[in-house]
Amino acid sequence: MPAKASRAAFGEALLDLGARDERIVTLDADLSKSTMTAKFARAYPSRAFNVGIAESTMIGMAAGLALTGRVPFACSFACFLIGRFETIRVSVAYTQAPVKLVGTHVGVAIGEDGYTQMGLEDIACIRSLPNIPIVQPADEIETKQAVAWAVEHPGPVYLRLTRQNLEPVHADGYRFRFGRAEVLRPGNDVSILASGGPLWNCLEAARRLAAEGVNAEVVNVATITPLDEETILGSAGKTGRVITVEDHGVNGGLGGAVAELLGEVMPTPLRRLGVTGFGESGDPKALYAKHGLDADGIARSVLKFLNR
């Protein structure tokens, strides 16, 4: 399978699922070409609503649609969704309206647009709310299955998607299982936990580390809320060293969630890789290199962590 952005896979999945399920509707705030719901809107114009540049009311209207039997996907850049946190907090989470929130353009990987358009705090914000699972798929096949799962999930969902193309990390027969982390590459020396954009880089780093005699385990934590404690604790117990990698602010995201788990249940040496400070404009690859999220950076951090 060729590399594909998870937002593109999402758009294709919606088009496919929408043909079979009349309940599916989309809501956009003038970014449907970017969130990739535009194809769905062309195919099913009476089920696609572009409310204008008005994310708060988009989220609220999605709640109302969800409470009257529709399956609404409310889509925007992750940062703009999270900017309407209070509406998500009350109209979606507390109301328990089964809205499917879709945040695209996550992380510094969006590149040239710069900080204002980068979703860097979305996991931290959504994770603080009861009742909203967070799923971050890493390639086309996982994204499509996560979208299909979200349609059937009876509660609200947050899907975290990328602008950039993602190399496949799964074989064709892969089955996404909500709430389950997946050991992509077994190893004994260190556990690398990641999902979404940087996951392929983690696998590449593991291959390079193998050449240096380090056998790294790579775990795909596609479901960030709720964490698969069993798999993560099992991996940490085996390797004794955990490093998290995410294209998100270094505080409060996957690394934060893993730190909370390990700190309370099984204190384990931990390093968190992520974005420090604000993002900035630049070439996406250069930004990944700057923040140590490329394969080289991840491998370097692992070697330093292991005192090699």
Partner: protein, 298 residues
């Protein structure tokens, strides 16, 4: 409206006003001013307009009410109890630990509440989404949304105001949505005119594409007629400006910002009950007065 119906609704409204004073006094906190101003609107909706079944609160064909000014939910609780959603004896559990009668409405804890509100500005968006969802499902149910006048200062209200008349057009126009503003003229800190005047309110909503109906929000016959008119308007949602008096029915609370968010003491509540019902009090009200007198001694 027939005279007998009007008298029945006016009597329910008086009972609700008494119950509001009672439950807020027991709770020791809450919002009497706006609860008393919105009562006549809610009583008309619950007892002369809306289709619902307390035994089946999730009945798909029910009309929906979203009380966007969620702090005035005591008035809604009184109507819900009277309608049979829960026993009236439960009213005095308002704001107590474990009670489904939360300080602001909770959809999950109390069947019959359609959305969590209280963080102002959000209810209209939810109501518009519900109206659209009902249209798409081929339902004839209506959606009512009550907003506060101060609440209209929230930006999300104007996002929804701009969107709703266009949402769902042409197949699913939201003519099943009726928004009512409880225009009592006072918000938490002071009179709305002093904090941030929302005038010209009628012109603003008209310019956003809404038919607007201007009424006295304490005249039940006028409220009912306005809701008839709203139901007859096709192709657009309707906005009703209901002019009300904050604290309506209790002289010392009327048009007084001090009573936005302060519970009465038992003696104040008793004085209010006498004003609302006149003397001599009926037996049920005398029982409430006796209960409040006991509360004062505790």
């Amino acid at each position: 409206m027939a005279t007998a119906d009007l008298a029945r609704l006016q009597q329910i409204a008086r009972e609700c006003r008494v119950q509001i004073l009672r439950m807020l006094t027991h709770a020791g906190s809450g919002h009497p001013g706006g609860s008393l101003s919105v009562v006549d609107l809610l009583v008309t909706l619950y007892f002369n307009r809306m289709r619902y079944d307390p035994a089946r609160p999730t009945w798909e064909d029910r009309d929906r009410l979203v009380l966007s000014k969620g702090h005035c939910v005591p008035a809604q609780y009184c109507c819900m109890a009277k309608a049979g959603f829960f026993p009236e004896s439960q009213l005095i559990t308002l704001r107590k630990l474990g009670s489904p009668l939360q300080g602001h409405p909770d959809r999950v804890m109390l069947p019959g509440i359609e959305a969590a509100t209280g963080s102002l500005g959000q209810g209209l968006s939810i109501a518009a989404g519900m109206a659209l969802g009902l249209k798409m499902a081929g339902k004839t149910a209506r959606v009512y949304c009550i907003v506060g006048d101060g609440e209209i200062q929230e930006g999300q209200v104007w996002e929804a105001a701009m969107s709703a008349p266009k949402l769902g057009q042409p197949d699913h126009a939201l003519d099943n949505l009726c928004v009512i503003v409880d225009y009592n003229g006072i918000q938490l800190d002071d009179h709305v005119k002093k904090i941030l005047d929302i005038e010209p309110l009628v012109d603003k909503w008209k310019s956003f594409g809404w038919p607007v109906i201007d009424i006295d929000g304490h005249d039940i016959a006028q409220i009912d007629k306005a809701l008839d008119q709203a139901e007859a308007i096709k192709g657009k949602p309707t906005f009703v400006v209901a002019h009300t008096v904050k604290g309506k029915g209790v002289s010392f609370m009327e048009d007084n910002p001090e009573w936005h968010g302060k519970a009465p003491k038992p003696a104040e509540a008793i004085r209010g009950i006498h004003e609302i019902l006149g003397d001599p009090l009926p037996d049920w009200a005398r029982a409430i007065v006796a209960e409040l007198e006991r509360l004062e001694k505790q």
